[in-house]
Symmetry: C2
Subunit: 200 residues, 2 copies
């Protein structure tokens, strides 16, 4: 379809199609939106893309994405220093921050152990986590990797690695998510919920 | 969610959320894709956005979008001059070109008559269509506006406007689309299909 447009449009559609989950149809729709939008709006988008590539780096302490190093969370003296929440990626930091329940600091692994995909401990920010635990006065490490096989494996690996040190390693509770109905949850979720049942 | 990221990311997510059909979640996913993608790829996307805004204009003959005026179709001497297909937008040109069945030229209205939205004949490229018919040796005008109320109204309006001139005004056939099953088509489509039934 895009072959019938002028070159700059075809090029833009091709670039937009590279996004995960964006097919040629959606890319065409987005390209036409850019074409119709005010000039300043389109240039502002282009500049934001450039700004992200030029200004975003990883925090040298926790490896969260940031434009200022250390990141806002690591710089915040009100955040507890003795509790670290370990997550797979920067988006997980945002998800946990959104709850407003966690007052400690983070450590972003940038992935999970996955031998199938050739991801080993050296590909993740695990060494630096151990260093933070050894160097600092860390009392608890919450391993908030995703409740999947790789996330579980990574959590167990980290727990074993931190065993020699005087630190509690915990994992987020597993069970039924809020909302929804029992009949739609899978057996694994219901098993975990049974296993972790609590007296009310 | 995006409030917990560094400013350049928040800004990019905000810009991406402006796209029709792109919510904050998808915008976040796209922003992270840009963040992770190679620098050249991201800069190339930014440049494509700028190029589209700076190089794309409307063809002075048919009002299709183009980077060279007149557009490739209007410049093509192999295309028939005496048949014009009238469409609502540039994407419709691409849809018809894709069939490879149409060898004439186009006229892009850039909208349809819609009193509800305050769109009247002066807001569309209708005057210039009449001028093309009057000036040129046009034998047929196919009004390929969408098979909706506004598209039908626009088609009737154009047909009436061109009545004084020696030109045949036609409309795309209506009926069942290819594929699918009868039980899933709406009554209006089935009515049109019955009305337009043909001897086999």
């Amino acid at each position: 379809m895009s072959g019938h447009f002028a070159k700059p449009i075809v090029q833009l559609i091709r670039e937009l199609s590279r996004f995960p989950g964006i097919g040629e149809k959606t890319a065409t729709r987005l390209a036409f939106h850019i074409l119709k939008s005010p000039r300043e709006e389109a240039l502002s988008l282009a500049n934001s893309i450039i700004a992200v590539k030029e200004q975003i780096k990883l925090c040298s302490v926790c490896y969260h994405i940031t434009d200022i190093d250390p990141c806002a969370i690591c710089r915040d003296s009100h955040r507890e220093r003795d509790i670290i929440c370990v997550v797979e990626g920067p988006q997980d930091v945002a998800s946990i921050e959104k709850t407003g329940e966690f007052k400690g600091r983070y450590h972003v692994l940038h992935g999970v152990l996955s031998p199938m995909d050739g991801v080993g401990p050296d590909d993740l920010r695990i060494d630096s986590l151990v260093k933070r635990v050894v160097d600092g006065d860390v009392k608890e490490v919450i391993v908030a990797t995703n409740p999947k096989v790789e996330g579980e494996t990574t959590a167990l690996y980290i727990a074993r690695l931190l065993k020699p040190f005087d630190v509690k390693v915990t994992r987020l509770a597993q069970g039924l998510p809020m909302g929804g109905e029992l009949e739609y949850f899978d057996e694994a979720t219901i098993s975990k919920a049974l296993e972790g049942r609590r007296v009310i």
